[in-house]
Symmetry: C2
Subunit: 332 residues, 2 copies
Amino acid sequence: MMKTIRLSIIGFGAVGQGVARVLLDKKDLLEDMGLDFRVVAVADSRTAVVDMDGVDLNVALSRKRDEGLVGSDRIRGIEIIEDIDHELVVETTPTNIVTGGAGLENMLVAFKNGKDVVTSNKGPLAIRYSELIKTSEKSGTRLRFEATVGGAMPVLNLAREVLAGNSITNVEGIFNGTCNYILTRMMEEHAPYEQMLAEAQELGYAETDPTYDVEGIDTACKLVILANSIFGMNATYEDVTVAGITRITPEALLLAQNDGYVVKLIGEINDSRINVAPKLVPMFHPLAVGGSLNVASIQTDLAGPITVTGRGAGSIETASAILSDMISIYRD
Amino acid sequence: MMKTIRLSIIGFGAVGQGVARVLLDKKDLLEDMGLDFRVVAVADSRTAVVDMDGVDLNVALSRKRDEGLVGSDRIRGIEIIEDIDHELVVETTPTNIVTGGAGLENMLVAFKNGKDVVTSNKGPLAIRYSELIKTSEKSGTRLRFEATVGGAMPVLNLAREVLAGNSITNVEGIFNGTCNYILTRMMEEHAPYEQMLAEAQELGYAETDPTYDVEGIDTACKLVILANSIFGMNATYEDVTVAGITRITPEALLLAQNDGYVVKLIGEINDSRINVAPKLVPMFHPLAVGGSLNVASIQTDLAGPITVTGRGAGSIETASAILSDMISIYRD
């Protein structure tokens, strides 16, 4: 029995395009699972394309690449969510952690119109988690957001599905690949922060303005989402104690290394606090992963500590997390 | 809506008792999920206790501890599976990787009697995987076996549920905590294999006859289960190339360490082969975990490499994996 799910992709940057590519790539595999995901609309920040028989995703991707816009019609994402008949909104607009941006309104309107939401958009979840959950529950719709925390690293679904039956007492990890890259390279090269930041910027691992990553803000947003979804807290960004990596020196890393430790920007949640700070991690501890990897260690009452490592960013990796959420909602 | 699932625990050693403890401990949490797991029979190797209203698990645990036997009636596990009306058999008898032991017959008879099976018993799955799957499918029953590979480390359910949509091209990892403990300690103490084996035996991490662990046999069995369940192979133990850790010297570990590597007993599966052998792993690679931890790295087409680390053994940890399987079968 094939189940057809009509969906829109709202936001057609790297992640939205990744979702389109993955849906093209995995069409057969999804059909084997009984799932026919039919994209009926794709919107970028200025235009949209709508086709109730299914948007040709190859055409949409080419047009976006060649012309910079996905469609010729000036339609806003929110209009598609309100006016077009479909079941699922894949919300991948750029994140805004101060106001929630367009994503916040898109999600709330989706729920009010009876549509499920799968998103990679951290901002709305970091600042208005409980409002989003309540609105979604009230309308009997579903909200999934694995991609907001750690890209392809499946920490939320691991906690919910795989560790079912366990009580989770503590979560800690590396939730920002840019910081991990810079710290790893500083240790390898005995080089100062500024030099390795410049390298990371050159390689595209860090933004021109790196504040959001290196000051721990991105990590803090992800912790808020984890705290609310795994621990049922009602936390916001204000509840997080935050320190970044800008004042770490190569000398400090060398001293740590001589004692068998590495320095990592660790985010941690337990009953009493949410905290981001550079910490010493023993060299062969599961959290001591290098490069730009993300890692999360979940402390459980029965299974003990379970640690999961994966790529924290990347368009296809993030799309993979979105796809796993889509499958988990609609697969019988 | 509460769903009552009647189950038997067949095999009442460390793991079976762990399951009983966990069910007592998690009664409220399970009821919140709408699941009432009612144990109607518990069998050890010589006796059993049966109560269709629910066996008092506290009494069963005390009696087993004080008298060495769970019941007074001489009933075999297989008779319970055949004769008692229930839905689920939790099969936790001692494993036998040559014949499959009592576990193999228990599982086959369970399926033929329309009962689901959740098990921690490697032997039957390592030698008769396809027969078990076919028998289970034919009767429309379900077989889950997360606990057979890596205890609390949730590699099977991670691959099936969390990474849904991904194609898995390669799995490698440390699947034996005894070997990891010995190698980690040899490196830390620059001490020979024999000395650290003796320490592991003293601490209960290694058996008096350590062959099964240190020669890589246990790892090979787990790889066969992974190969069959994740890659759809029809492999048996004969298909695995196996080398153990008994000939590794502290000098070799030191040389590796000076180059930034550790030596680990790595099990690996890809399209063309199943292999167990000591290998060099870069120090900050996610597979380079110390102590007695298990770790599995799953290479996927979309999400990239996903690595999961956890305790590979322990009665409560293994029971946790069994519980997560039970929940995943019966939760709506």
